[in-house]
Symmetry: C2
Subunit: 295 residues, 2 copies
């Protein structure tokens, strides 16, 4: 366990270091508030700079570095991935969806700017992200991300999540929701970093499996934190999953089995990295961070 915490500490340093560059690039890649439509640009920036771990930019850059990637296109992808993640949060928080008033300790987009602007700022971040991905020059990257986001990915997971609220669900359904809603984009973040570094499909495969495992682990830990942490620690309402009757691992298999599941997924992710020929040190540490994080 102390090894795991040491590794997690390395990942925290990496997240901080890459996160700072990612923020600078995001600022360059977002339209300025001084240009029309001003209020929409302001709302997009409000949600983008409301905090966040910048996990997806760090993952895409880690995969890029693992394959000795060179050049600036990776920062287009890192900005796009963070915009796509934020788009999903803005729409998830809407009154007709999860109806959340706070996110990372701040009013959600629709509380701050109204529903219409929130819907449009989510739409705009999604579209803007595809524009940035196009600027990488790789149609393959655009396709990979579109697949991870669509009805066979994130949006599909969100749909089944909403349909399952307040109903008894199977472990299979929770697996479906968590893989699609959370893991698919995390997996794609890594794959895109590897593609932009010029990795081959064979080289990418273990990285994809690693991403699948840590993506699921991320959401299992999220479910556990929702129960064990306070509202202040989370920056959003603690216990809200239970209150909303959300399909979570703890609600289906209990909290101890959920913790065991997180460790199993960590082991799966490390086993996948051991089949990789790339320099996987940073990715190993990020896996440790994901299963030991408390926020």
């Amino acid at each position: 366990m102390s090894d795991l915490l040491h590794e997690a500490g390395l990942a925290r340093d990496y997240l901080k270091r890459v996160g700072e560059i990612a923020e600078l690039r995001l600022n360059e890649h977002l339209p300025p508030e001084t240009v029309a439509p001003h209020r929409l640009h302001e709302a997009m920036r409000y949600s983008m700079f409301a905090g966040g771990k910048r996990l997806r930019p760090a993952l895409t850059f880690a995969a890029f570095e693992a394959f000795q990637g060179k050049g600036d296109a990776i920062w287009l992808a890192s900005s796009a991935l963070e915009m796509l993640h934020t788009f999903s949060l803005i729409h998830d928080d809407l009154p007709c969806m999860d109806d959340d008033d706070f996110r990372r300790g701040m009013p959600t987009a629709h509380k701050k700017y109204g529903e219409a602007t929130a819907v449009l700022s989510g739409d705009a971040l999604c579209i803007h992200a595809f524009g940035l991905l196009a600027r990488t020059g790789s149609a393959q990257v655009v396709g990979e991300i579109a697949h991870s986001l669509g009805t066979y990915g994130m949006i599909g997971g969100q749909m089944i999540d909403i349909e399952s609220e307040g109903k008894p669900v199977s472990l299979e359904t929770v697996d479906y929701i968590h893989y699609h809603k959370t893991a698919a984009l995390i997996e794609a973040s890594l794959v895109v970093g590897a593609i932009l570094a010029g990795a081959t499909p064979e080289e990418i495969q273990p990285i994809r499996e690693y991403g699948h495992a840590i993506g699921l682990a991320f959401q299992v830990v999220d479910d556990i934190l929702d129960i064990e942490q306070t509202t202040e620690q989370l920056g959003k309402d603690a216990g809200s999953d239970l209150e909303k009757g959300k399909a979570t691992y703890p609600s289906v298999i209990g909290i101890e089995a959920s913790k065991k599941k997180a460790v199993e997924l960590y082991n799966t992710s490390i086993a996948a990295l051991e089949r990789s020929t790339a320099d996987t040190k940073v990715m190993r540490s990020i896996a440790a961070f994901i299963v030991t994080r408390v926020y």
Copy 2:
């Protein structure tokens, strides 16, 4: 005028012919209802097959043919363009936006499937469209469309449209709204068809100018029809622009000046085509259709 009506008739035949192929391809390109998430796929198909002129597929194919384009990639673009148009309609109709209950004589997506599913089906159509555009293999096409849709395009127009509701607006603002909300994607539809046919930037420029003019004309005529046609003829509430205090050409410059504006835009579009080296017969006829249409 009788020449114009004759030309419009040719365009109607073309729209019908291309529209039938575009529908078949759309059916292939949309995820099936038999696959999870079933209800979301059903909602996407409901909105996609609720009628519609299939104008954007016809325009992209017309530009493709004008430059002797070959191959199947154009149908990926035609499906994507129609999905993007439908995505915008679904979100525009939401209660927090224009709050419309009917579209093309049928209940809008949120009336039929609820708000959450409507938001997600719009998101999914947008994302799915970018996946199809990626399959053309052209990052340039993805970038062109993303630009025409984002805050400097359609979403920007929708934002200013909503902000302007019920307020006195200038002609400049109506121009801004109509160009961004409607004309930008129409222009991009043509440009993408030309790109996929291998046209050069110099060859594309007059087609872009034609698209700009007919895109604006389309919206000016829409404003006029909202006043002069009945609810039955429109398949949506007639007079709703006035009721909602929408910024329209008739509300700013009056109905006669709006009709004059439509004819001027038609003339501008034809002048642009006269600078083109492509075979512009079909595009000429579509311009005539747009300014003479009654639905």
